[in-house]
């Protein structure tokens, strides 16, 4: 499958994402500069983490008007698979592809640590490979990761099972102590109603190899891959090769 990883001025997780997709998962992945007006013939788009445009004004606010984002919007609205990680999540919210917003961490601290994530639903391309009940261990690194949305949006997210990742204890309990940034409902990641667009603050690309001490994050990318393969009708044969 072919993945496009966007690059904005200030992106800094783009290389990690391409590395995981190419070297760990053996996929065709390339960089896509923010000035490009087309995303070409790709199967999925990754909006990586970093500090696009220096986080000026608000995180992700300037990046939403990059030429490439028009193409990403059209791709996403046509059921294209899109994942935004960290700053990518902030950009997707600013763009309006995902509901809500990410604001300053309640502690005002930049939090760089490992967190535990509960996966409330495996009904999405991004969580389908996560074994039922498994608690993921993935790192975070952000100052503005506190998820906010009004009550109406939160109710909708819950009713439609759009909450994909929540900060929990190691045992999978939703507690305030396990919430690193003050996110409402301990939200770490969500998807849109169509379930083809995901945004998450934790970094799965930093936890996708045994050599790095953990590989829970790989499940997110593998889920996307399985979804694409199933959609392309490649069936079990291709799945077992990866």
């Amino acid at each position: 499958m072919r993945f496009a990883v966007l690059q904005f001025p200030g992106s800094n997780c783009d290389q990690d994402c391409v590395h995981v997709l190419r070297s760990v998962l053996g996929q065709d992945a390339g960089f896509l500069w923010h000035k490009e007006e087309s995303i070409g013939n790709v199967d999925a788009v990754v909006v990586p983490g970093g500090f696009s445009y220096g986080d000026y004004l608000r995180t992700g606010s300037i990046a939403q008007f990059s030429p490439v984002m028009n193409a990403v919007k059209a791709f996403a609205n046509n059921d294209g698979l899109v994942i935004g990680i960290c700053n990518g999540f902030q950009i997707l919210c600013e763009t309006g592809l995902l509901p809500g917003a990410l604001v300053r961490n309640r502690s005002l601290q930049f939090r760089c640590e490992h967190v535990h994530l509960k996966v409330p639903t495996t009904d999405s391309p991004f969580t389908r490979e996560v074994p039922e009940g498994k608690v993921l261990r993935v790192p975070i690194a952000h100052g503005e990761g506190c998820y906010f949305a009004d009550e109406k949006i939160l109710a909708k997210l819950q009713a439609n099972h759009q909450i994909l990742f929540q900060y929990t204890t190691e045992a999978g309990e939703l507690t305030d102590d396990a919430n690193p940034n003050g996110s409402l409902l301990n939200i770490a990641g969500i998807c849109n109603e169509g379930r083809n667009i995901c945004g998450m603050m934790p970094h799965p690309e930093r936890a996708s190899e045994d050599i790095l001490g953990e590989d829970d994050g790989r499940l997110v990318f593998e889920g996307m891959l399985r979804h694409l393969e199933a959609r392309a009708g490649l069936g079990q044969a291709a799945v077992s090769e990866v």
């Binding site: 809500g100 604001v103 309640r106 906010f148 949305a149």
Partner: protein
């Protein structure tokens, strides 16, 4: 001519910066501080007619300068 824009966090949104500043003011001995809201202030220098600019600045506030999910804005053109 300048557009002067004030952007503040919506009431429902947590404002940890405001709370921290409030705590500091109280610690300094300023009594009676009810609440503090930390926002942004922008000045945009303009050419042309203020009445032509008014709807354009309003649109720019809505689309880029503020995020309506989390912020309110108000502005003057003078």
């Amino acid at each position: 001519m300048k557009a002067k824009i004030v952007i503040t966090p919506k009431k429902a949104v947590l404002d940890p910066q405001g709370k921290t500043v409030q705590a500091a003011l109280e610690q300094m001995g300023y009594e009676g501080v009810k609440d503090v809201h930390v926002g942004k202030y922008l000045e945009i220098e303009l050419e042309g007619d203020a009445e032509v600019w008014r709807p354009r600045i309003d649109e720019a506030c809505h689309k880029l300068l503020s995020n309506p999910v989390i912020e309110d804005y108000r502005f003057t053109i003078e």
